[in-house]
Symmetry: C2
Subunit: 343 residues, 2 copies
Amino acid sequence: MNVTGHNRSPASIRDVAAAAGVSYQTVSRVINGHPSVKQSTRERVLAAIDELGFRRNATALALARGRSRAVTVLTANTTHYGYASILQGVEESARSAAYSVGVGVLESADPAAVTAEVQRAADAGGGLVVIAYDPEGVQALEAVPAGVPVVGIVETPASPPTDNRPWVWTDDRQAAYEATRHLLSLGHETVHYVAIPSSTRRTGARTSGWRQALKEAGAAQPRPVQGSWGPAGGHAAGRKLARDPSVTAILCGNDDLALGVLRALHEAGRSVPGEVSVAGFDDAPHSAYLTPSLTTVRLDFTGLGRAAFALLHGVLEESAPIAPHPVSVPELVVRESTGRPSA
Amino acid sequence: MNVTGHNRSPASIRDVAAAAGVSYQTVSRVINGHPSVKQSTRERVLAAIDELGFRRNATALALARGRSRAVTVLTANTTHYGYASILQGVEESARSAAYSVGVGVLESADPAAVTAEVQRAADAGGGLVVIAYDPEGVQALEAVPAGVPVVGIVETPASPPTDNRPWVWTDDRQAAYEATRHLLSLGHETVHYVAIPSSTRRTGARTSGWRQALKEAGAAQPRPVQGSWGPAGGHAAGRKLARDPSVTAILCGNDDLALGVLRALHEAGRSVPGEVSVAGFDDAPHSAYLTPSLTTVRLDFTGLGRAAFALLHGVLEESAPIAPHPVSVPELVVRESTGRPSA
DNA sequence: GACATGAATGTGACCGGTCACAACCGCAGT
DNA sequence: ACTGCGGTTGTGACCGGTCACATTCATGTC
């Protein structure tokens, strides 16, 4: 009988101490597995703990220790596949390290709101993981107060964040490069690009990888079409591209955009991959089941989340040395949506 | 200059008090907007706060007050559309109430792990939102220690959780009922069902709504096909159903399953909706862009999340009275994937 | 038998806030 | 001059743990 049902407020170590006839300090020692506690005493204390249903108060612990086994993930979105998977990865490893995980969403538009959210997360006391794939995330990363442990998840290894904080990345640039080369190698004259909103005012890593592949191949470099994140944006972009008969290959900034593009092409009566090839980015779970199934670049988002946590964990506990910035290697997955041009 | 760069440890109210030449209690009063503080004093304190870059320590606050403006969402998954959207809804309203949001994932298989996760979340001190759409969630809801404020998000209003804790729901039963009736009204002899894992050992709400519609129409009641959550499960189920030429209408437990079913039918050479009609559940963002676009039942998951938080907020702050269990009304969205049977 | 030694335990202060209560202030009422 | 009172401010204890240090006790050694 470890829970006595109608207990008023939860038992503290002093309650346990009283019940076991020892001092609170001894109870503390037992909880923390300190060696110098006589066996008989330890057993008495453990019995009392069980009896009273004692659980160590996490808040008090955090206050006394000055740090709180907690990580907060700051992200612009929690529903898109990549973001959600990163969160899942962080949560996964955080859980097995007995850390708790918080989420803070960075509301677009308002910079003050972003800063406020960062502040609140910082006040929580633990470490921060900032997903800096988009403008809000980048701003958030910069707004993190000095002294707060933080790991950034960024799009490109090219230019590190302003200071020497650790970060992890997927090599999006390389990934886009490879996807573009795949399409070119099939015989397409050039490849059009439907972009996701880029992380900075400058060109995003995916865009730049695509561009480089075109350049190296001496192919024409059409203007990227700006899309949003979701399928609706892809659909809008796809309608424009579908009107241009010279378009035979389209690379999309993510799989959702690609889905919208596929739909737009279908509505315009252009067959995929017969007339137009389409490739995506991310390899979301549904991409393999579309008709036609989607050629895309698989990115290990959950692995990225795990790496971010591992890094942060190292910083917070000062135990494990900070591993060099982990990279996850993207992998091109060729499916039905890409093929040789018909002409 | 509110941040003095190289500040060692963050300033406490006593630091501020010293700087302003008042007692710590006066600082506390200023922070909390207590009326009886002389205007000149207040200004002096505010100046010191700004000077030292003081921020109130959330941990200490929680310890002193005995409760912490925090909510933890317990869920079996963070990436599936419905779950992720609920989380988003909770986060959204939590943020505007200046609450922080935690996430705990309930690892399947191991019941002990589920209980442990619930415990850790409870220890965090705030309130709990448990998504009890699946066996893990239901178990978690039951494992919440007495005295911890909790709101459950359940599948069916039929049988409330064991005790009188508040909860919210979507009327999944009614939704499935309507979707089934839609298919029957198109002239299908009967409707097959690909089920998501149900929340209890008994039949899930969606299954039961489907069954009732068939019963009322005097239609045959085929065995539901067990699927998992993702498209892979739907694909497997779809392959079985595709082999049976008598199958002309399939209702799926969610849109991901439906996607897998669509793919399987395509592979088997059966046209949708020409030979077979397919309907999903949830109205995920991509469902409208599939080819054929998916008939489905739209559920307001973010609204559900918001409602859950509102309820919990009421409990935690004892201010607003507990509103009656909010329901969000599902809406049938008819698209291309359903039509009259060909025969 | 006196003393150093190490194991086992207890005491007080502290983390950074809050709460309850006491004390001080100036001013009106008698 | 004495009292009452509301506005202002300060003091001490507390939330539930930890940490640094002091203390007690049994033991082995000279």
